[in-house]
Assembly symmetry: C2
Homo-oligomer: 425 residues x 2
Amino acid sequence: MKKVGVAILGLGVVGGGAYKILTERREFFRATQGVDIEVTCVLERDPERVRSLGVKSEIVASNVFEVISNPDVNIVVECIGGVADAKGYVFDALNAGKIVVTSNKELICKYAQDLQRAAKRTNAGIYYEASCVGGVPIVRTLLDGVQSNRISSIQGIINGTTNYILTRMTKDGMTYEDALAEARKLGFAEADPSADVEGFDAAYKLSILSSLAFHTRVPFSKVFREGITGISGEDVEYGRGLGYTLKLLAIGKDTERGIEARVHPAFVKNTHPLANVDGSLNAVYLTGDAVGDLMLCGEGAGALPTGSAVVSDVIFAATHEGNRYLAFKSTAKAESDVRFVSDFESAYYFRLTLADRAGALSKLTTLLAKNNISIVDLVQRPSAADSATVVLVTHTTHEVSVKNAVARINTAGIAKVGSVIRVLS
Amino acid sequence: MKKVGVAILGLGVVGGGAYKILTERREFFRATQGVDIEVTCVLERDPERVRSLGVKSEIVASNVFEVISNPDVNIVVECIGGVADAKGYVFDALNAGKIVVTSNKELICKYAQDLQRAAKRTNAGIYYEASCVGGVPIVRTLLDGVQSNRISSIQGIINGTTNYILTRMTKDGMTYEDALAEARKLGFAEADPSADVEGFDAAYKLSILSSLAFHTRVPFSKVFREGITGISGEDVEYGRGLGYTLKLLAIGKDTERGIEARVHPAFVKNTHPLANVDGSLNAVYLTGDAVGDLMLCGEGAGALPTGSAVVSDVIFAATHEGNRYLAFKSTAKAESDVRFVSDFESAYYFRLTLADRAGALSKLTTLLAKNNISIVDLVQRPSAADSATVVLVTHTTHEVSVKNAVARINTAGIAKVGSVIRVLS
C-alpha cells in the first residue's frame, strides 16, 4: 500500500483538528482510500498543545528546515495562519517539491499567483479547501463540480462569528455588544474580533472564491468591505417587521459592466434560502448558466469541520498522481483587462427621522425620485413628540445614487438619515 | 493545447444538454481549463434530435462500433439510459480503453463492480456525477470533499418529479392526480410515471450514494422502497397543521446494527432544512463525524443542470492525468459482512377513525403503549356522526412495532387505520 507522510505546521484549532482526524482515522483511510497516511512530523512551539494532543516527542521538529528536509514528509499541512511565518514556510516547502495543503486564507488571497509559480516549478501541488468556509467543499465544487458553467454570481454567508452575532440579535433581541461578548465566551470570536466583525475574514474568502468562480484574479484591494459594528438592534427589528433577516453577505458578480466583489451587512428576504442559515452555519449560493442555482450549507469554522477540509485535501493529494496547482488560471482574461464595478446595483433600506410637518414625507420621496430611487415599501411611525420614524425599502438602484441622495437629505434638512443598509435583490 | 475528443451516445434531454454546453462553451473551456474539448462523434437514431441540435452530419455515427473504433474519441459520454443498449456500449467503450462519463443511474447502481473491473483492466476511467441529483455535485463531494469523514447518515430529496407533485399538494392543496397531470404537462413527469412516483429512481440514486458514503456496496435489492401514489391530500393537510411538510425522502444510515437504506414518503418538521426544498429542487443532507451536517441543494434534473454534471466530469477527466475508477472500493468491508437493517427506527404519523365511544381513545393508546409506541402529539376531531378522526405523531419506535400495532388495531376493531406515514426524527 502506498505510504504518504504528512507534516503539520501549527497545532492550533485547525491544525489540531487535522492531527486528530489523521491519527484517529489512519486505519479507516487505509481501508477506504487504499493509502497509508501517517503524520511523520509536526512543528509547534507551544508544548502544551503538543502534550494535550498526545503527539510523540520524536516527531516534533524544532524548526521548519527539519520538516522540509525530512524525506518522510510528502505533504506539508500549513495551519499557522497569517503571513508572517507561514508565507516563508510554504514557499520553502513548495521549492523543496513538497505538496502543500493550507487553511490560510490571507496567504492564498495575497500570494496565489506566486505560490502557483513555485508549485509549477517543482511539480508540487497546493490545495486550500480549508481556507474558505470550513468544512463546506466550495473550493472543490468550483474547481471540479461546476467548472462546466459560466458562474454569474456567488453569494454567501462565509463568516461564522458575525452570523452568530447577527442571529442572536435577530432571534433573541440581543444588542450587538452582548451578542459579541457571548460569541467571545463561546470561542466563536477572538479577543480582538476586528478580523471577523469588520469583514476582513469574509473579504479574503470572497477574493479567493470570486477568483475561482470568475477565472480571473479578484484582489483583496478590489473587495468593497463594510462590517457589522454599526448595526443597531432597531434596524434588525424594523427589517424583521418588513420580512427581512439581516446577514453579513459576501457577494461576487460577473456582470457586463465588470466584476463586483463586496462584503457588507444586507437584509435578505425571509423566503430566500440564505435567510435561514443561522448561528455559526455558513452557506454559499451560486448561480451558473447550466447548473442554475446551487447552495452548499454547513459548518464554516471549528477544529473538526475545518480539519475535515484539510484532511480531504490531504487524501486527494495522496491518491491522485497528477498534482493540481492553484487554479487561478487567469488565462481567460489578462489581469489588466479586468474591470471592477464599485458603483454596484442593489436595493436599499433607509431609516430616517422626519420632522412631523405637513409635506415632509412628500419632500423626501420627491428627492429620492430625483435620484432615481423608487420605493417598494414604506412605514411611518411617530417617534418623539414632533418627529416620525420612516423606514423604507427601495427598488434596485445604484450605490452612487444612494450616496448622493443621503448627502442631499442631510444638507436640505428634510430628514435625519439614521441608517442605510443594502437589501439583497 | 491538449485536445480531447468526446462522443455522445444519445441526444435526449441530458445528452442534448451536454452537447449544447460542450459545443457552445468550447472557447470558454479552452480559456479557463486549458484544454480543447471537441465533440467528434454522436450516436443518435432520431434524426429530428440530430437536426434540432444542429449536429453536423459527418460526426453522426451509424453504430457503436464506429464510435469506439474512432481514434478521435477519447471520452464516451453515455446518455442513453436504462441497461438494454447502454450496458453493452459502456463495456465496449471501457474494454477499448475509452474513458466513460455516464448519467445512467440504473447502470451504475446495478453494474458498478463489473464496470470498475473493466475500467481497471484497460486503465480507463468511469465518471457518473450526472447519475445522481442532476447538477448537484454530490458524487464529487462524497469522493473528494468529505472522504475524510465517517458518514453516519445521508438524507435527501433526490427525485424532482415527486417533489414537484408533493409541493403542489402541500402549498396549493392540489390532489395527487391533478398534481401528477400538471407535472406531466410541464415535462417533469413521463407518460408512465412509475419510475418516479413508485420511488425506483430515488432508490437507484440512494443505492449509489449510500455505497459511496458508507464505503461498501448497498445493492438496489436492499433498498426499502415505498412511493407516493397512496398519499392523500387529507394527510398532507393534517401534517401541515402539526408543523410538518411531506417529502419523498431517501435515507441511508450507517448504524451499529448495520446499514439501512430506504425511500419513502416522510413528514419533515418545518424547521428542518429539507422541509423548504420545494418544487423541482433536490437536496442532500449528510452528517459526518468531522464536517458535521452539510447540505447541498440545487436542480436535480433537466437538460442543462444534468448536462452541467456530465460536462464537469468530462472536464475533470480531460484535465487529470491519472484516471479515477468507480470508487465503490469496498475494501473496508467484504460484501458478505455487511448487515442491512430492515426493522429501522423512525417516528410515525397515524391517521385513524375511532368509534366515538367512551374508552375508545384509551384502548387505542393502551394498545400503542403495549407495542412500545409512545405519543408526542395527538389531535382528535369529530368526523362522521358516530366517529372521530384521530391524528397522532409518535416518538421514535421500530418499524416492526408499528406493523404489529396496526394489525392489532384493525383486528381488535378499536379503530380503522387510515394511514401511517414515517416522520423524520
